[in-house]
Amino acid sequence: MGPATVLLLPGVLLGLCFGDSLFPSRHFVFQSGQEGRALGGWRLPLSLELLEEAEDLSLLGSESLRDLLELEPECRELLAAFTNSSVKLTGCLVRSARPVRLCQNCYRQFREINDQLENITRAVGNTSESSKCAKSLLMSDRLQIVVILSKFFNDTWEKANCANCLKNNSEGLSNSTVMFLALFNASLTCFEHNLQEQEGSLVNNYTQVCKNCSVTYKNLNALYKRMQESKQQHDAEEQSHLCIDVEDAMNITRRLWSRTFNCSVPFSDTVSVAAVSSFILFLPVIFYLSSFLHSKQKKRILILPKRIQSTTSLVNIQEKCH
């Protein structure tokens, strides 16, 4: 505390001096503020906290300095609210990273942070007071951390394609998503149920699961495909994804089904495929052979040109005659 105050002193003193001075012109005060910041800059960052500590010194002129460095109280409130909700959203996002439950868990927080951001920006043009807030929070320095954060949240949201499984104004999960999640849970329960039964039998194959859960799994798969198709019809863009929750849930289930349980064993009829394809591949051979043997070779009738028969010509015209 001690050295910090000392560090702070020159700036405060400077402010004091100028406050006392005979010509308290705005211009000079501003300059001094700049200088003070610069002076503080090479020692330690002149943090707001320290300034708050310095408040109780209640020196003359500290008011004007704090006015310059400090946010307006309304703006501070806005910032605090934004901080709060971004903490909440970040926590939620990271907590539901694996297995992915982003959209279902965090849509409220996401809506909140959007509201907060809107609160900050909305006022731009409304009153001078709040426009000041937007200005100081959103565009008064190079870093613009609020903008970065909100951009990050929005990008994440867009990348996860969450809008796809929410209702139009993101007030809840859409019907198809709810249905999908219900089916997903049902199939997971089914897997679990059957695996437990199997544990007793000690046989390490999953025929039981495959047999009992195939209906649920197929329903789930079919629903997913339907959702995909309707999505594709909806927007004709090249890259269209379903929301990440649904995609991930489906991926997990599919991997379990076909990799772990090995349930989807496709019928491979190599013999008949080989037979048919070799038959087709054999057809051209017959075709070319038969056309070579039976088709009459096309002959060209030579026409002899009307020309002087030159003996000196280096071109051997006689060649054509035999």
């Binding site: 991997r255 496709p266 009829d269």
Partner: protein
């Protein structure tokens, strides 16, 4: 006299009538006619005395082709590349400055001012219509192919679960074969000239060879339908080459302001009904076609310059560029409307290679030798491709010449392509996780749920889409085994497919082969150097594609620019240029380019830029055809008709000589008249007697000649009565009074240069007394070719 009359055989006349002809004529021209029958084959006595050993040739007054040769029997040989077909004729690029032309020029000199404006309007129209046709092809291919793949995919998905995949294979093969059958049938039976990419044909046309039917409306329709069907039919073909032909046909049609096939004459652009003007517009159309196909306007102009136009001037460049730009613009705007974002004009050509990000995919100096090596590989592979295709095409010309066999062959290729693709997909173990719908038709087959078969992205797709995915899919999408197998199989499939009787281009298959081995090369490069060289597979795929295409078609300048424009990346200009250069040099060492090869196999009398280098010892006397069938300035109608209808001398240009002979050697050359002009004259019965009796109501104008262009009626369709046969025709007014001539001693390269640079059709060889000795035509010059054992001479043949 009677001898001549009986020799003549043409459909309208009987032998008995001919005998009646021997009666002397009453109108006083009998004497002239009697003498006129003789000197049709003019042989100046001076030259005959000098070339004493030739005199026997000239003794026979009716000397026909078969008679004057030592080996008299017409014998047959199998088709080979060393032939020139009689089927092909020259175009008339030489402006005929006869009196009619001069009169017209004098009469309406104001009309010539608007000609330039009309040229620009035509170029704009060419661009618009070419763009529209490209849109039509693109949209229809996308729709139909989408439908086909959806059906097959549904079938495969169904049978993967229940078994019986062989039915899917059969379905796929049958669908392919059926679609290809339709496409091939219309080409083989309706318009065989629409087969192939059309680039060789357009190249010949712009060189001055009249390929029958090549710029007809019917050809365009067959070409467009054919290309749609062959791409939908799953053949290893692209739709870009045919776009060039389509553009050329559109250009030829629009610039004439009428369609002879539809018998509609819009009475516009009549001034342009000449071969010279049409040629310029056809090169604009070819450029517009390229520009629509690749979204490369500059590339289109350069393509026209490099591959197409044998005749060029600076004014043409700017106009052609205009047509190309309009064509790209039209395509973009229509496609943007089709894709649902109207007025966004950024959708490029038919094939969109996608953007290559320069920052991510730059290249370094170390990579230059690698690129050059890829060029070498491309050249060798391209030469192999061409050599294989050469043998195949030769076989096809010799044995598979009946239309039904051709259709059958195309169907078989379609079915085999499907079967091979299916087997490859079936046996592939390369599964990749699905990410969104980057893959258009993901086939799961034996992969786990949520994964797709990587081989299927290459085979189970239209070739254009496969090229794009090879360029742009992130590293690790294809495993090396898949790429290797794909390259090998597709190489042979593409080689087999090119030259079938379907309309289809070779651009996309070559790019696809190249992209596949290029990507493989990139992957193995970073594998061998264990990551020391980070080779982005997409970049190497692009270089491989350039190398392969360059090795096959041997284009340099235009291909570089096309690749640059199609990828929207100027940075790659240098490596692409290096790759193409190397590929061309290496490829040319082995065999020539695919298009030149096909031109040769078609026995087209194509004139290259220069005469063969070792031909200076040949003179015009050895090159020319002789004796020449000449006409007099005032000629008897009967004689003209006989000459024109004689089956053995289907000549097209006839030197016109003085009609009154004073002495033995005064029949000097006065002009040149074309068969087409003679036919128009006969049709309008412009005879001296009729004019003097004022039976002819109006004078013949240049317009009458233009109206008959380009399909002049055959001589058989013109009826000339017995009385008329005895009339006289005065050709002075209509002939070209100043044909180009060369002395007998001129060397072949000199003759060649004159002929080639001026785009001539006939070049008269005269002696010192301006008497006609011989005539040099395109076939006389084109038959000399530099072969492996020095200078070779090609034979003429009836095909």
């Amino acid at each position: 006299m009677s001898n001549v009359a009986t020799k003549v055989s043409w459909s309208g006349r009987e032998r008995e009538e001919a005998e009646g002809e021997t009666t002397p004529l009453l109108n006083g021209t009998g004497a002239a006619a009697a003498s006129a029958s003789k000197p049709r084959q003019l042989t100046p006595s001076s030259s005959a005395s000098r070339l004493g050993h030739l005199s026997d040739v000239y003794l026979d007054e009716d000397s026909e082709l078969e008679m004057d040769a030592p080996c008299s029997l017409p014998h047959e040989i199998p088709h080979s590349e060393k032939l020139l077909s009689l089927k092909y004729e020259s175009l008339d690029y030489d402006n005929c400055e006869n009196q009619l032309f001069l009169e017209e020029e004098r009469r309406n000199h104001t009309a010539f001012r608007t000609v330039e404006i009309r040229r620009w309007v035509i170029c704009a129209l060419i661009g618009i219509f070419t763009g529209l046709v490209a849109c039509f092809i693109d949209i229809l291919v996308e729709r139909l192919a989408g439908l086909k793949y959806k059906v097959v995919k549904g079938n495969i998905d169904k049978f993967t679960e229940t078994g019986g995949l062989s039915f899917s294979l059969l379905l796929w093969a049958a669908l392919n074969a059926a679609v290809v059958m339709v496409g091939s049938t219309i080409v083989a039976f309706v318009e065989p000239v629409a087969a192939g990419s059309g680039i060789p044909q357009i190249k010949c046309y712009l060189n001055g060879v009249k390929i029958p039917h090549v710029v007809r409306l019917k050809t365009l329709v067959v070409k467009v339908c054919g290309v749609i069907l062959s791409v939908v039919g799953g053949l290893a073909v692209g739709k870009e080459g045919p776009m060039i032909h389509s553009g050329a046909v559109i250009a030829a049609g629009i610039s004439q302001g009428r369609s002879t096939s539809l018998k509609r004459d819009f009475k516009i652009f009549e001034y342009f009904r000449r071969d010279t003007e049409k040629r310029d517009f056809v090169s604009a159309g070819a450029a517009a076609g390229v520009s629509a196909a690749f979204g490369a306007p500059v590339g289109g102009v350069l393509f026209s310059l490099e591959e197409g136009a044998s005749f060029w001037n600076q004014f043409l460049t700017w106009r052609i560029f205009f047509a190309s730009m309009i064509s790209t613009f039209t395509l973009n705007s229509i496609l943007s409307i089709y894709h649902g974002n109207p007025w966004d004009l950024s959708s490029p050509g038919l094939i969109n290679f996608g953007r290559f990000d320069t920052e991510k995919m730059g290249y370094t100096i170390q990579e230059i030798p690698i690129f050059i090596f890829m060029g070498v590989v491309g050249g060798i592979l391209g030469a192999t491709f061409n050599a294989l295709n050469y043998w195949l095409t030769m076989f096809r010309i010799r044995y598979i010449h009946r239309p039904c066999l051709q259709v059958l062959e195309a169907m078989l290729v379609g079915a085999v392509t499907a079967a091979v693709g299916f087997v490859m997909i079936y046996s592939s173990q390369d599964c990749q996780p699905l990410q969104g719908n980057r893959v258009t038709y993901p086939l799961q087959l034996f992969c786990a749920d949520g994964e797709y078969n990587s081989m299927a992205t290459a085979f189970f797709n239209t070739p254009e889409k496969s090229v794009v995915s090879l360029f742009h899919d992130p590293p690790g999408t294809y495993n090396p085994m898949t790429l290797g197998m794909f390259t090998l199989v597709y190489f042979f499939l593409a080689c087999w497919t090119y030259g079938l009787t379907v309309s289809a281009g070779v651009f996309i298959p070559s790019l696809l082969i190249g992209a596949a081995w290029g990507r493989l090369f990139g992957i193995s490069l970073s594998y061998i150097t264990s990551g020391w060289i980070w080779a982005d597979p997409g970049k190497y795929a692009l270089m491989g594609a350039a190398a392969q295409l360059g090795g096959i078609v041997r284009m340099t300048l235009s291909l570089t620019v096309i690749m640059m424009e199609a990828t929207g990346n100027v940075t790659y200009g240098f490596p692409i240029m290096l790759v193409l250069m190397t590929a061309k040099i290496v490829g040319d060492y082995f065999v020539e380019g695919l298009y030149d090869m096909h031109i040769q196999l078609q026995s087209v009398p194509f004139l290259h830029w220069e005469a063969p280098v070792t031909s200076h010892s040949l003179t015009a006397r050895e090159v020319m055809s002789t004796p020449v069938t000449c006409l007099r300035q005032v000629e008897k109608v009967g004689t003209v008709v006989d000459i024109l209808s004689s089956s053995s001398s289907n000549h097209n240009g006839f030197p016109v000589v003085e009609s009154v002979s004073n002495g033995s050697q005064s029949l000097g050359l006065r002009g040149l008249i074309l068969r087409s002009q003679l036919i128009v004259l006969l049709k309008h019965k412009v005879f001296v007697e009729r004019t003097s009796l004022s039976l002819v109501h109006r004078r013949l104008k240049l317009k009458d000649f233009r109206d008959a262009y380009p399909r002049f009626p055959p001589i058989q369709s013109i009826h000339v009565s017995q009385d008329e046969r005895e009339c006289m025709m005065d050709l002075t007014e209509f002939m070209n009074p100043s044909p180009y001539t060369v002395p007998q001693e001129a060397s072949l390269p000199r003759v060649f240069k004159l002929f080639r640079a001026l785009g001539l059709r006939h070049l008269v060889v005269v002696d010192n007394h301006n008497q006609v000795v011989g005539l040099v035509t395109r076939k006389d010059l084109a038959r000399y070719r530099l072969g492996k054992e020095g200078l070779e001479e090609l034979s003429l043949a009836q095909t």
